[in-house]
């Protein structure tokens, strides 16, 4: 049986809103676990624009996406949040009553949490692999077409086609090479973004005839049932080549999809979660939505709006976590109590 992780709040998404929620909750003695599908904190800031300057964070005339995330991580350090990276929240089940909410949260990695409130800070949804628009690809997904390697054994003695020119495509080309029967790497140009030593290692394998490299794009797939048997590659020189394969791994980066949030029983409006503007609570008492994922009259998708929202949501979360305690509003500048929590007094 899976051990259940008991905590006050589960925060879904470790972008700027989710990270700052740790701070606002922490000041109120509320403990949090954060779950994010990405392998690191920062959400879109780290994934989409780590080097890009942001100009509208109050108090920072200019800060990069990564710079902001690094600072937020430092700011929440005193509250020792627990991160669960590379996992997607699949289900949120209601256990309690509207007055005393409680939830069971399950991830795709099999972890189970029990908490008193859920803070959905999922931004544009979850980053998921882009699926190439090749006719009929759906029916091979999960059996012959994979967007990540879960088990190396699935590739043993198979003819594998890998598509892409970045580190994911190159790393899996090199890692699966000893297992696979034959690897064919397909990329749209003879120029690779991956680390130079990986590119060199791949080119050596090609030069010694141990794998194939095709410069072009996959145009069609053929198979029987869910089993892939061949791919048609349109080469850049205009020629077309059929390659016998049993496995295909396309690496076209990530895109944002709402994902399982749609199945959590929350009201949705155009893939966003409607909330009130007093507590940022959803249609389910105890489930809050903050940052880019929520919507309300006048909503602006700004990082600073997310910060405001988590501060207000935290006040209501306190009532659910400590129903018998009165909450006194305090400032970090003057409260000895808050300064103790921050480790500065």
């Amino acid at each position: 049986m899976t051990d259940i992780i008991a905590t006050d709040v589960v925060i879904v998404g470790a972008g700027p809103a989710g990270l700052f929620a740790v701070f606002e909750l922490g000041l109120l003695d509320i403990k949090a676990h954060l779950i994010d599908i990405l392998p690191r904190a920062g959400g879109q800031c780290s994934e989409l624009y780590p080097e890009k300057p942001i100009y509208d964070i109050p108090g920072f005339p200019i800060v990069t996406g990564q710079g902001l995330v690094d600072n937020l991580m430092k700011q929440i350090e005193p509250f020792h949040p627990t991160f669960h990276f590379g996992e997607m929240v699949e289900a949120v089940e209601t256990l309690g009553t509207p007055e005393r909410p409680a939830f069971r949260v399950k991830t795709d990695a099999g972890k189970v949490f029990e908490c008193k409130a859920v803070l959905v800070a999922a931004g544009g949804g979850s980053f998921q692999p882009k699926k190439p628009p090749i006719a009929g690809i759906d029916k091979f997904e999960g059996t012959s077409v994979h967007y990540a390697v879960r088990r190396m054994e699935d590739f043993r003695d198979r003819n594998v086609m890998i598509v892409g020119g970045g580190d994911s495509a190159l790393d899996w080309t090199l890692n699966l090479h000893p297992f696979a029967k034959r690897i064919t790497l397909v990329h749209r140009r003879d120029d690779f973004r991956g680390a130079p030593h990986s590119v060199n290692a791949m080119r050596e394998l090609v030069a010694s005839g141990k794998m194939d490299l095709m410069i072009g794009q996959v145009a069609a797939l053929a198979g029987e049932g869910a089993d892939l048997t061949a791919a048609t590659v349109k080469l850049n020189d205009g020629a077309t080549r059929d390659v016998a394969i049993e496995r295909l791994m396309p690496f076209f980066g990530l895109t944002m999809k709402l994902g399982p949030i749609a199945d959590w029983g929350l009201n949705l409006h155009e893939n966003l979660v409607p909330v009130d503007t007093e507590k940022f609570e959803t249609s389910t008492p105890g489930v809050f939505a903050v940052g880019d994922i929520n919507t309300y009259p006048g909503k602006l998708k700004l990082i600073l709006s997310g910060f405001h929202e988590v501060a207000l949501a935290a006040q209501r979360v306190h009532r659910y976590v400590y129903p018998d305690k009165k909450l006194t509003f305090q400032y970090t500048t003057s409260s000895t109590n808050l300064q103790k929590k921050l480790g500065v007094n």
């Binding site: 544009g124 882009k130 990329h187 749209r188 140009r189 794009q217 076209f252 980066g253 895109t255 944002m256």
Partner: protein, 106 residues
């Protein structure tokens, strides 16, 4: 203001006005052009504002920069006239520009 025409994957054309100095992507988003997602908001970080520049215009828009080429690796059905339209700056020279959008961005 310069006019830009977006032709979608089913052949429907929509013409919008674009401010000089802005990007072709910004003009598309302001007028809700379908088939342009621009998930990253113009940071050349997502390849979801992929367009095919009309052959007659590729001389004026120029081809993709090396950084843009890297990002185009994440787009589908990339062709020699492929660009990410967040990287095309609108100028008076581009009045009448025609670009085509692919059926799938992300």
């Amino acid at each position: 203001m310069p006019k830009i025409t977006f032709v979608d994957s089913e052949g429907r054309a929509r013409t919008v006005e674009a401010e000089i100095g802005s990007t072709v992507m910004e003009a598309a988003i302001r007028d809700s052009i379908p088939e342009i997602l621009a998930e990253c908001g113009g940071a050349c970080a997502c390849a979801t504002c992929h367009v095919y520049v009309d052959d007659a215009w590729i001389g004026k828009t120029g081809k993709a920069t090396p950084m843009e080429e890297d990002m185009l690796d994440f787009a589908f059905d990339v062709r020699p006239t492929s660009r990410l339209c967040c990287q095309i700056k609108v100028s008076a020279d581009l009045d009448g520009l025609v670009v085509r959008t692919p059926g799938k961005q992300g």
